[in-house]
């Protein structure tokens, strides 16, 4: 069964906070739920499906449905694939709606890593029972050095340069200057990026995303519900999800799970990479964007460096406007999970509600892609293609 045209994104909300010292984690989820329902023009009693991931406290849906006072839920999903979870949730919500299991699915994400650090709470980390952890933790892996090894290998095999990676951050910064909520709003140059301090070779500080509090929410609804509302229609055209891992020691760091999630989503949507007018690409690091663009087929494998150079990702300048909210590199990476904001900005673009300085004209088909986990080890990749009603 295809999900094409079976579901719509009727509500979007991005929490404005980037530092939520005065708010609890559940409170952020609730403010987001309220924001997304108001955006759609629905009430909490209309919600009959609820989705959250590992950022939600307790047993996820069980605790949050009670806290939020949702009384009509008949479908629950707590799929956890790290930062890509919320893109997977849209896929699963569309499947559930197509199967008649629910008609108004609420998805929420919230996090407060900045506030938690300030309060001395340790970072949320996965269980020591994870079978891989004994063989990785003693070597002092961290998020940056695991992505850095992907960049190092990509450079080795394809001649990708730090300057080319820097263009990705430059493009994000051009967009972030127009976003009043963005954590970093200064426009930067390639020189700024390559001259910023080296964190883990070859990734500089400006190759890395921001750490922020906040979150976001989505409302995925049936066609009947979507057409009864006053908001511009954002149709789900297709989706794909795929794990990628170290395969028992057969390690290749030059590609991501987008190799599989992308083709599946394009096939379901019945579109090609050249049909995409706008792309939200998970940007935990610049290398994440580069590998993903290649894997999704926007350019040939190994040619990502040339593709992103010279402003090709800048709205109004290049061929593929990306992350027009400033992305994780400049705007927001709530709870260290960037998939949610990727869908939100893609939906804004289809609605024509992005900032006028970055809005893509006649944006009828958009893509959102997430990479959860670690590009340098095991990841959950998820691709979503959205369209206008005419698409």
């Amino acid at each position: 069964m295809s999900i094409k045209g079976k579901a719509y994104i009727a509500g979007i909300y991005e929490h404005p906070s980037r530092k939520a010292l005065d708010k609890t984690l559940p409170q952020l989820h609730a403010e987001i739920a309220k924001g997304v329902l108001e955006d759609a023009g629905l009430t909490k009693d209309d919600v009959d499906g609820y989705f959250c991931a590992g950022d939600a406290p307790g047993l996820g849906p069980i605790n949050m449905i009670e806290y939020l006072g949702l009384n009509n839920v008949r479908h629950m999903d707590s799929t956890e694939t790290g930062g890509s979870s919320y893109i997977v949730h849209v896929n699963h919500a569309a499947q559930a709606i197509a199967a008649g299991h629910c008609s108004v699915a609420l998805i929420t994400l919230a996090g407060r890593p900045v506030a938690d650090a300030k309060e001395g709470k340790s970072a949320r980390f996965y269980s020591p029972d994870a079978p891989d952890l004994p063989f990785e933790m003693p070597y002092r892996f961290n998020v940056v050095n695991m992505y850095a090894m992907c960049a190092m290998r990509h450079m080795h095999e394809y001649g990708t340069t730090s300057e080319q990676l820097a263009w990705i951050k430059v493009a994000a910064s051009h967009h972030a200057q127009h976003n009043e909520h963005a954590k970093l709003r200064d426009v930067v140059t390639v020189e700024d990026v390559v001259n910023s301090p080296m964190i883990a070779d070859p990734l500089h500080r400006m190759d890395c995303c921001v750490v922020t509090d906040g979150g976001g929410g989505l409302l995925v609804v049936s066609p009947e519900v979507a057409k009864s509302l006053k908001r511009p229609l954002v149709k789900v055209l297709g989706a794909g999800e795929a794990p990628k891992h170290l395969a028992g020691g057969d390690v290749d760091l030059t590609y991501s799970g987008a190799c599989w999630s992308g083709p599946k989503a394009f096939e379901e949507a019945g579109v090609k990479p050249t049909d995409i007018k706008y792309a939200s690409i998970y940007d935990s690091f610049t290398i994440t964007v580069l590998e993903t663009l290649e894997d999704l087929g926007f350019c040939e494998k190994g040619k990502g460096g040339a593709f992103v150079s010279d402003g090709n990702l800048i709205s109004g300048v290049g061929k593929l406007p990306f992350n027009t909210d400033g992305g994780g590199l400049c705007n927001n990476h709530p709870g260290n999970r960037g998939g949610m904001t990727k869908v939100i900005e893609a939906a804004r673009q289809i609605r024509g509600e992005a900032h006028p300085k970055v809005q893509v004209p006649n944006c009828d088909i958009a893509l959102a892609h997430g990479t959860g986990g670690l590009l340098g080890a095991r990841m959950g990749s998820a691709t979503l293609i959205l369209g206008s009603e005419a698409a």
């Binding site: 891989d132 883990a200 028992g248 020691g249």
Partner: protein, 130 residues
């Protein structure tokens, strides 16, 4: 031999991986081989991730390999090298490159296994330039 850390590394030892750490303590790098399909894998599991047979055994690897990729974590004092090393048996493993000039580490470099003392009498396999 040291990973540059101030204290001995504390390992996560469980019933499935204990022979691996005991091997390291004896100065052996062990990988798992499947007696059904004949393939090796890393990290070690009780059931073969290639064919799903529950017929795997630890075998000693040569300990020689080549750097597949690496990164120098500059914010640490002193900076340390994390790497994937592809050992000659064909599997790649996450590790550290130690006792080396961090500015000279490179992809394709030949390395050999070495062992760092860990807590509770175990040892951690690492690699040094060959």
């Amino acid at each position: 031999m040291s990973t540059g850390q101030k204290s001995k590394p504390r390992l996560i030892v469980n019933s499935e991986n204990k022979p691996y750490w005991e091997g390291a303590a004896r100065g052996q790098l062990l990988i798992k081989k499947c007696n059904d399909c004949g393939k090796v894998h890393y990290y070690p599991r009780s059931i073969c991730p290639h064919c799903f047979a529950d017929n795997t055994a630890f075998v000693e690897a040569s300990g020689d390999g080549v750097i597949y990729s690496y990164s120098v974590t500059r914010q640490a004092k002193p900076p340390y090298v994390i790497a994937y090393v592809t050992i000659d048996e064909g599997v790649s493993m996450l590790t550290n490159i130690v006792d080396c000039d961090v500015e000279k580490v490179h992809i394709g470099q030949r390395v050999k296994v070495s062992f760092v003392e860990a807590e509770e009498g175990y040892a951690l396999p690492v690699f040094t330039p060959a």
